[in-house]
């Protein structure tokens, strides 16, 4: 059996409310919240980035896995906010975890799909019997241009998953990937904020790929939506994943546990992985879970997991996603948020 | 060891000396000390300075100062022990005369802090770069950590800390060389801008420029000079863990305690014989701890002792009659020698409006970093 042997997430304590962002740009808060189904989002502390978020998520995953960290043979981090353009995030995380130097490390980037991409490769490494355990992390301190619709969603957080053959808590039943070249959202080298194609990010991008991957993996695995207890779809806002789930034939209650975007925001590469982590927090042995990511550019990775008995033993060893979302958030006003996110022009 | 005497002292006014350079202020203080001593040459020099490299980009200042003082080719070396560089320079000069190697030695201290360097960062180099400064700690921060521990352990009050600054500003108001010659009130100190809680800007010594020098001589030279001389009867120095967090008791400045014990032992006297002292009040809490470590009061009782006026000009043991680092100013490398200037002036009866009555034995205590090095000297008016 190959699957996940440990999982963990991390979300910063800071938040900004959608109302405060809307007011800053002269938009009606109620219209924005209704349109995007977003209430607030996480904000990284001034001393947090993809690397520090990855470390805390990885530590939580290790708490839930009964393995020696040194047995991790691969470490992959997917993010679109790696702190360095050149110099890996993974090496820092590996040093903190104490798993150097016998480890294969890679940083991935594929917009919001980079996290599941890391999961896909970690799973493949274990399946190919190249390593005993492989860790995959999806984490981001997402960028959204001031005043842009993305500013209401772009948030910070991430999740880590350790894949292996022993002590599995969620078996990988099937995988599927779907990709085309679609310029719906991008950020050029050296650009501070991403750009996007407005409504072009919907039907030809998000929905085409999510639905394409979702339908294909259901067909491939010969499963129907009603066979699943839960499903998690990438969450660029509150509406898209609900709509995608509905069009694939899933009911709202199947999506609910992983639909954390209204209070978390879109943690980009950490979005669907953290929705999946929140789902594992409440799943029962035998439950089937569908996970479909989406990364602009564009592509989707789909996974089907089957939860094992073991999950009951390990899930209380680390903080759960809902606990992280509810533990005394520290709310920022727009000025503090702009300072934290480096949006104020400063002298060197 | 031979007896060592001071026959001349000199200092610049302390403050923001915008028009004067590092070398100018040193030479000004050195000439003033040389003239006061009435000597026509010196045989050796020790210059205390903490970090002229960071403050003005200039190292090798032993040679530079000998050169600009017109004293080359005398041997000259810079002595560094953070904020007690000056006191340590005095100790080096003391040993050079005591050993018989030289008969006339100039010891000085200098710092030029207002030339645009990042002063907070430069001063922080005296703390552990890797394990204190890397975490974002500053010197006010380190002393604030001591203050909070002292408050928690001994019940020291915010008002008692402020009393140190009020006293020192009063004394500074009587000292024409002081950077600040204004009085402050307890309320002003307590309600001033916080620098590192609970310490405010008025608990903290300022950023200053300044220099001070003294001429140390052998008995033979002293007798020929026919000037009022002060004898150095004790010298002690000590060190402690550099990082504050490594010390078993954060409220104890062990280097101060040990350096004082050694100076008392050399002088053959105890703290009860000391008539007045100039101590390293870089922050109010520092003076409070130091009066405890010097043995003027029991450990933990410094707060009430100071609050009751025991360290005022008319108190039991006047401390920092010059205004201390707080009011006189704290050009770090110069401070240790400026303390000597005050003690010599007081013993010779030249302290004018702040002249202490009936004083015979004075003490200086100069400290580096958060107390990882300390040097104490004891002085007596020569018969």
């Amino acid at each position: 059996m190959i699957g996940i042997v440990g999982y963990g997430s991390y979300l910063p304590r800071f938040r900004i409310r959608a109302d405060d962002i809307a007011r800053q740009w002269g938009r009606d808060p109620e219209t924005v919240k209704r349109g995007l189904l977003l209430k607030e989002k996480t904000v990284p502390g001034p001393d947090e980035d993809t690397i520090t978020i990855s470390v805390e998520a990885a530590r939580n995953a290790l708490k839930r896995a009964d393995i020696e960290p040194g047995e991790i043979g691969s470490l992959y981090i997917g993010s679109e906010s790696h702190p360095y353009a050149v110099k890996p995030s993974g090496t820092v995380v590996a040093e903190v975890l104490g798993i150097t130097p016998e480890v294969h490390i890679a940083d991935y980037e594929f917009a919001c799909k980079a996290g599941t991409e890391a999961m896909f490769v970690a799973y493949s490494q274990v399946k190919a019997e190249l390593v005993k355990y492989a860790m995959a992390i999806g984490a981001d301190t997402s960028q959204g241009a001031p005043g842009d619709a993305l500013e209401f969603s772009a948030s910070a957080g991430g999740s880590a998953f350790i894949f292996g053959r022993e002590k599995v808590i969620a078996e990988v039943i099937d995988t599927y990937s779907y990709a085309t070249d679609t310029a719906d959202f991008w950020r050029r080298e050296g650009a501070f904020y991403p750009l996007h194609g407005g409504r072009f990010t919907g039907a030809p991008a998000y929905f085409k790929h999510i639905l394409g991957a979702g339908r294909a993996i259901l067909k491939k695995s010969n499963l129907k939506p009603e066979d699943f207890k839960y499903a998690v779809f990438h969450m660029p806002n509150g509406k898209f994943p609900l709509s995608a789930g509905k069009r694939l034939g899933f009911k709202r209650e199947q999506l609910e546990p992983g639909w954390i975007v209204p209070t978390m925001g879109n943690t980009y590469s950490g979005s669907s992985p953290t929705g999946f982590s929140a789902t594992l927090d409440i799943a029962k042995p035998g439950d089937l879970i569908l996970l479909v990511s989406f990364g602009s550019g564009a592509g989707s990775d789909a996974f089907i997991f089957k939860v094992t008995e073991r999950i009951e033993q390990v899930r209380d060893r680390a903080q759960k996603v809902q606990e992280m979302l509810s533990r005394e958030p520290i709310y920022l006003d727009y000025g503090q948020y702009a300072k934290f996110r480096g949006k104020i022009i400063m002298n060197e | 060891m031979r007896d060592v005497y001071i026959i001349g002292v000199g200092m610049t006014k302390f403050g923001e000396l915008w028009g004067k350079s590092l070398r100018q202020i040193f030479v000004e203080a050195a000439l003033s000390a040389i003239d006061d001593a009435g000597v026509d040459h010196i045989e050796s020099m020790y210059v205390g300075a903490m970090t002229t490299g960071l403050f003005v980009g200039q190292e090798h200042i032993g040679a530079l100062m000998a050169d600009y003082l017109g004293s080359a080719p005398v041997p000259a070396v810079r002595v560094e022990s953070a904020c007690c560089s000056g006191g340590m320079a005095l100790r080096m000069g003391f040993f050079e005369v005591a050993s018989g190697n030289s008969n006339i030695v100039l010891v000085g201290g200098v710092e030029k802090m207002t030339d645009g360097a990042d002063v907070t960062a430069a001063l922080a180099t005296a703390a552990d770069q890797e394990y204190e400064v890397y975490q974002g700690v500053t010197f006010p921060g380190l002393y604030a950590l001591i203050a909070r521990a002292h408050i928690a352990r001994f019940g020291t009050t915010r008002k008692q800390l402020a009393a140190v600054s009020v006293k020192n500003h009063h004394n500074g108001s009587l000292n024409p060389n002081a950077q600040f010659q204004n009085e402050v009130t307890l309320d002003q100190v307590i309600n001033a801008t916080l620098v590192a809680d609970p310490l405010t800007i008025l608990d903290s010594s300022p950023v200053s420029d300044g220099a001070a020098c003294a001429i140390l001589v052998s008995e033979e030279v002293m007798k020929k000079a026919k000037r009022p001389a002060v004898k150095i009867i004790g010298s002690g120095a000590a060190t402690d863990y550099l990082a504050l967090h490594q010390r078993d008791d954060i409220t104890v400045l062990n280097a101060v305690k040990r350096s004082a014990e050694r100076a008392y032992k050399m002088a053959g006297i105890g703290p009860e014989k000391i008539d007045f002292a100039e101590v390293h009040d870089c922050f109010s809490i520092a003076e409070l701890c130091i009066v405890e470590e010097l043995g003027f009061v029991e450990k933990g009782k410094g707060g009430p002792f100071i609050e009751a006026g025991n360290t005022a000009l008319d108190g039991k043991i006047p401390v920092n009659s010059s205004g201390g680092l707080k009011a006189k100013g704290h050009p770090v490398g110069a401070t240790g020698i400026a303390q000597v200037f005050e003690v010599v002036e007081q013993l010779r009866g030249n302290a004018d409006k702040r002249q202490l009555k009936d004083v015979h034995i004075g003490l200086t205590q100069n400290m580096g970093g958060s107390g990882a090095s300390s040097v104490v000297h004891i002085f007596k008016l020569a018969e």
């Binding site: 502390g45 001393d47 104490g98 | 974002g136 809680d197």
Partner: protein
């Protein structure tokens, strides 16, 4: 910070690696070549725990340039479970939340970036439990 100096301290900054004296059992952090308690010169490597409590604390309001954008930030001397003390920032809280004896957990955080183009320096900080 020059990268050789940064790289050298990684075991301490990232993993709290310390030396335990084989003679007296006392732990030195950072590792030393000679035990300050007994003079012992033989050690074994150990990793400090991520749990401790505040011994004393302050809030820095005037900082060196590289930290100036972070003011006010809190600093504490924290005693870890092994009895070893470290100086560390306490983050994700307000200055008034700190107190002597309060329990903290050590986390991994960014310390400061070296300007816009230099290395990013990481290390340990504490959060209130």
């Amino acid at each position: 910070m020059p990268t050789p100096r940064y790289t050298r301290e990684i075991p301490q900054r990232y993993r709290l690696e310390a030396n335990k004296c084989k003679n007296c059992g006392r732990i030195s952090f950072p590792p030393r070549q000679i035990c300050p308690h007994c003079g012992g010169r033989n050690f074994e490597r150990t990793r400090l725990s991520d749990q401790g409590k505040i011994v004393t604390f302050t809030t820095i309001r005037v900082a060196p340039t590289q930290y100036s954008s972070q003011v006010p930030y809190s600093i504490a001397i924290v005693e870890l479970n092994e009895g070893v003390r470290i100086t560390t920032q306490v983050v994700d809280c307000k200055p008034e939340d700190l107190g002597v004896g309060k329990p903290v957990k050590i986390v991994f955080r960014k310390m400061y970036p070296e300007g816009k183009t230099g290395i990013i320096c990481y290390g340990y900080k504490a959060v209130l439990v």
